[in-house]
Subunit: 770 residues, 2 copies
């Protein structure tokens, strides 16, 4: 009765829910399509439901599963649960009963050992299941009630599936439950089934018996035409070889045809038996039109969102798909890039230069092809109507843009001459024992950029020039243009047989997933908005990220500042390109120039330029009618807005910047050289300027030639970064059988540590146009 | 009846539990002491128990709280829960009833808005509490049953505490429940209390009323003489100013005397009212002898272990302590170090040199004092009997050790001359616009080292030489020695008024907590075992770590290797110091030298040196009787053990090393120069050697003078790192009112980008003795 009433209530809620498109009977091809899954079976293995000691349920995990299932149900999806756990629940209960039926007095007098024996009575699994079923269901119901979600218990046996009439009955019962917005919770009716016989019905994929919850879930999912089966256990997913072996890799997407490439372990818990049975069940479901994801439901860090993550298409566990995509996986791309990159690094600098110049030529020669692809992208963007004019502007290419891109590339080709293999240090450690420190590429770079397609040839050229392998991930909007540009890059690379060193990552790949490819990628470079950079810095936990996180730049106007310089510098720093990370955000003025003509002129200029002014607390206190007070002195406006604050001295300006700045670029305007030098010396920012606009903080303007980006990190590279930011070093020692013991107290040799001359590379002359 | 029976059962279990020492009536002074807490009250705020939308309970969170409480209870502690949630549970139930009592038809016909109105009936809180209490208790009982833990419901009102007789009744009931190993779950009996009146009884800390669960929990904790009260809500803890302000800092340990230094927010959710009441309740409990921790119980990443973390003494939330430790907190130390470090960085290189030399002098002058402190440490260690002789050896200092330490320090003083402020690059960007790139310190270093006390003066000297501030964290075993050595360091620093630039972190601080001080610390350098380094790399998520993670070094013996060199190099690489990260782990031999005299000699030598051999799979396949096969080719033995594997060619050796190595140090032994050069060029490791022992991978042996460590990172510094690894750069631009617009298409200026000469520092001559 209560059940029925609640289900009515749920019906009401159901009307509000989004009506999702049903799949067309075929399984989904990509993880991204899982978002469309309407009918979902979640299978909870006993490792998920029970605790490690196998006595009792893992309540926290169970509760978060319920939380996620209820959430998905409330989105209008039709959720079903196939659960284990009745045995564990029953064991827990029966063990209590048995313990209690013994004499407590005897227990109290007994030693520890006897107590231990007592606490592990031998219990028959099917009896436990019967004893636990009711409690387990009560728990599910209590939990789901918290989310206004109604549940129903369904116990099935083998026969229910083999007998057509029974199967239809089961089917219509479940359909009716789903129609009423009830979550069916399904388990085997263990009390009435015979004990499982090993190896029956496992010969072919097409024959599947209900001997474990994996095959029950698969059977049920197909019977109910579910779109997705999520099978949670205590393994991450399917590995290409036994997980304990040296090179075992988790398979992201598994295709039925790949089955031969898998080596199952022989003895391990997740080997033959466990995993192979899971895979058979999964393939059976897949053949029946249900997509399958096998994932770990016991990992403390992800359990709270593993189900919703899977439904959102995130890379969790192993996804089973019938449709094998044409290209390689991103892991394979990375592998190819690394191998090809090693050959690229071993080329002569001239050869790398030739590749870059050839790419520059191709940009001009093949401009029709490029522009045609670009037009397709532009049209698609315009039709979608989602892009602002600024974004459309960034997306579009023109013959002029391609020309200047080609010029830029030729500059990179020049710069590439003295990048890789440069000797930085030579030491004679001892007679016939010489040490060299030389520059080498970092390895595999992942560069992520947004709409701008001109980024792709640029970063490709930078990677080639520095001998690094590259994974480039462009924006979806520029997909067609990027594909053509990447083909041209590979054409150029092919001159020296290193075509695969630069890989274009599919737009389907999530940035978040790429950021998790540690041990495969050595450095991530986001090129784009501060927001993009910040997101990537958050996502990339164990891979270094080169980029600016924040640009809270200050101009400090000293009491001895020259009026014309102040006006020029403040206007340029704020208004030249307000969205840039090197634009001024806070103007610090010395107290003495308040109420002077200079100050009035600054304010007039900012008004003329339509810069919105926010007052710092001290500045506000000086004014009768103050502009709006700042929310935080640590704000990056990125627009025609700035904060003005008053300081008593240069020292106070430095303190303010240290406290609220982001160590990006900070400027002093003064005619007093001593003051200026103290500011330059004491201020701890990547760029410190005297009487110059903050906008000079830029690789081109600094004359670094090719710009990799601007870094706010304190190690490796800081401020505007040239090609050097893409290099690391390696130590080469050439000896003649030398050992460390030779140099010990009782050894025969002494260290010389004589510094040998290094051919100093002539600094390049470079004319930048930007 | 069931309750009683279960409690008997729990009694039995109780006998097994560890009997913990009761606190002596005073609150704990340090977080570390919380491990001893026997009687613990866990207070769950409604934000923890209920979901964000406030209709229903947050089951997942509740379940993990139950899991933790049950675990602690099973350790033999006496747990009590003060819970909110009855109102939310009741609301959920009553809302259903009201919805259902309306005509479903009307609901189906109505628009969304009406439905929305319908779904939010106005419910009186106390009625909801009454309706929800039974369900909430049923849920707690169901959950705790899973952990064989029995619960009891206790509802209290204001009067129960004000009336002595009632209070005693409550006390003895609870005592009896605890005695029976039952977890009392306490809530206010809302149905019979009047609605709370604002601002009554809040005048003084000594008067406290039960108007919210915070004060109820405090009252109860004191009444029951609990050792610890854990108050969980949705705030991280207590901040020194409103959390939304620019500089709000979470207070780690709060002392009653500090109350004046707190600024509560006026309007925010966690401001006056919420937080101030929490603090009053906490201080009240503290006065009564109960320690208090206020923490966030809603953060998804920590909820699963927040309670156990607190009991384990981890830095979670705000800990209330009556005993203010003498020294500053580690956050204050970092602040002091950073400020003083900036002055240190601004000193003349000579001044930094003087400080280091003075420290060197002090090590010799004050050696009695140092050795006396060291003797104390040695005696304590010997008495504790926990340290191996190797560790005791590392811990001990001697006049000779101090002398050579002083010599090393004077070398660092020399090296410090050209570290900070060196000009690396000078560019004339335009007329009167000149750019310099100069070396500057990284900022604040955290160096963590183990037993060795000689590490402290060394790293202090390195930090001083590079102008960096330093937090040094030494091992507990060397606490006395480190304290004396640190005092001498500060005495030396005081010469130039930068005493605070080097801070010794208390041994009480957990390394894990220090690794979380991002934005305060710029680089972490672990000095010690690979295990220490790995642990720190795991713990430090957003601070870079400089160190070697693994050293899986290879020696490849080519077919054209000279027999005497092979024997010398392999012996030195494996046996000189097997625990070092630059010791050989895998010996790769060319197929052609198998079954040659050379190979027999290698095996004989390894046998003589008692090196245990593991066979790679290919090597094993060549032998009739093979040694034990390796578990993994990617093993760092760190002992007199190694793996031998066979390869077909130099190229295959490279492939093997790329696949299984750690890019640390790898060696080729061959007489063929072409083969050697290809190996050196193609192999992607930090150190690649030809005919020299892997043991040369070391800063001293490389002639870098002072060694910071060996890095297996690919960015910033790679391989052995000298002082340069502690430096970064800063860009200094000096102009005359220049703006970026001056150089635009329509501007009047053109970039010159003329490279100006840099005074090339003469490479230092240095004679190392190591």
């Amino acid at each position: 009765m209560l059940l029925q009433r609640l289900s009515l209530c749920r019906l009401v809620t159901c009307i509000l829910s989004v009506s999702l498109a049903r799949a067309n009977g075929n399984s989904f091809a990509h993880r991204g399509e899982l978002r469309q899954a309407k009918r979902i079976v979640v299978k909870l293995g006993s490792a998920v439901v029970t605790r490690g000691d196998e006595c009792g349920l893992a309540l926290g995990r169970l509760a978060s599963v319920v939380e996620q299932v209820a959430m998905l149900q409330n989105q209008g999806r039709e959720m079903m649960i196939v659960t284990s756990g009745a045995v564990a629940f029953g064991k827990q209960r029966l063990r209590h009963e048995i313990l209690l039926s013994q004499s407590v007095r005897q227990a109290l007098h007994s030693g520890q050992n006897q107590l231990k024996d007592m606490s592990v009575p031998v219990l028959e699994a099917r009896a436990c299941a019967a004893a636990g079923q009711s409690g387990l269901m009560a728990l599910y119901e209590a939990m789901f009630t918290q989310y206004s979600t109604c549940t129903a218990q369904v116990l099935v046996t083998n026969l229910d599936f083999h007998d057509d009439q029974k199967r239809q009955n089961l089917n219509s019962t479940l359909q009716e439950l789903l129609r009423m917005n009830i979550v069916p919770i399904i388990n085997t009716n263990d009390a009435v089934v015979p004990p499982p016989e090993p190896n029956s019905d496992l010969q072919g994929v097409n024959v599947i018996s209900i001997k474990d919850n994996d095959s029950l879930a698969a059977r049920l999912a197909v019977e109910m035409k579910a779109d997705l089966l999520i099978a949670l256990s205590d393994v991450e997913g399917l590995y290409d070889s036994p997980p304990e072996s040296d090179d075992a890799k988790l398979i992201d997407i598994f295709y039925p045809g790949d089955q031969q490439s898998i080596t199952y372990g022989t003895k391990s818990r997740v080997g033959l038996g466990g995993m192979e049975a899971k895979v058979k069940a999964a393939l059976w479901a897949l053949q029946g039109g249900t997509s399958v994801v096998i994932a770990n439901g016991t990992h403390p860090k992800v359990t709270g969102h593993v189900i919703t993550d899977i439904v959102e298409g995130k890379k969790v566990g192993t996804f089973f798909s019938e449709v094998k995509p044409a290209g390689p996986t991103v892991e394979q791309q990375t592998e190819m890039a690394r191998n090809s990159g090693r050959t690229l690094a071993a080329l002569h600098p001239d050869q790398r230069g030739v590749i870059i110049c050839h790419l520059a030529d191709l940009l001009v020669e093949k401009k029709e092809e490029i522009l045609a692809a670009n037009k397709t992208d532009m049209d698609l963007a315009a039709n979608a109507g989602q892009l602002s004019s600024a974004l459309l502007n960034r997306l579009s290419l023109s013959p002029a843009k391609l020309n200047s891109l080609a010029i830029g590339l030729r500059q990179i080709a020049v710069a590439s001459q003295d990048s890789v293999g440069r000797v930085l240090r030579r030491t004679r450690v001892a007679h016939n024992l010489e040490l060299e420190q030389i520059t080498v590429p970092i390895g595999v770079l992942l560069v992520i950029f947004e709409a701008r397609p001109d980024c792709l040839p640029q970063v490709s050229a930078l990677a080639i020039a520095s001998g690094n392998a590259l994974l480039a991930k462009g924006g979806k909007e520029a997909a067609n243009t990027n594909r053509v540009l990447h083909e041209l890059t590979q054409e150029a690379l092919d001159i020296h047989g290193v075509k695969e060193a630069v890989q274009l990552v599919s737009t389907r790949e999530e940035v978040e997933d790429l950021c998790r490819l540690d041990k495969m990628i050595d450095l991530i470079i986001p090129r784009g908005s501060s927001e993009l950079v910040r997101n990537i810095q958050r996502a990339a936990k164990s891979i270094p990220v080169l980029g600016h996180s924040e640009g809270i730049c200050h101009i400090y106007v000293d009491s001895e500042a020259a009026i014309d310089k102040v006006i020029k510098i403040v206007r340029d720093s704020k208004c030249d390109y307000p969205a840039a990370c090197n634009a001024m955000e806070t103007l610090l003025v010395h107290r003495d120039i308040l109420r002077t003509t200079l100050f009035d002129q600054i304010i007039d200029m900012l008004r003329t330029e339509r810069v919105k002014i926010h007052a710092g607390p001290r500045f506000a206190s000086y004014l009768t009618f103050s502009p709006s007070e700042v929310k935080s002195l640590r704000t990056e406006y990125g627009d025609l807005e700035c904060c003005i604050e008053v300081v008593d001295s240069m020292q106070e300006a430095i303190d303010h910047i240290h406290r609220y700045g982001s160590s990006h670029t900070d400027v002093i305007v003064t005619e007093n050289e001593d003051t200026a030098e103290q500011f330059l010396q004491q201020l701890d920012s990547a760029c410190v300027f005297w009487n110059a606009s903050s906008r000079f903080a830029d690789g081109y303007r600094f004359g670094l030639g090719a710009e990799v980006g601007i870094s706010t990190a304190r190690i490796h590279a800081r401020g505007p970064v040239g090609l050097e930011g893409l290099l690391t070093t390696k130590w080469v020692l050439r000896g003649d059988g030398h050992t460390a013991a030779d140099f010990s107290e009782h050894g025969t040799l002494k260290y010389l540590h004589e510094n040998l001359p290094v051919t100093q590379p002539q600094p390049r002359q470079m004319t930048s146009s930007n």
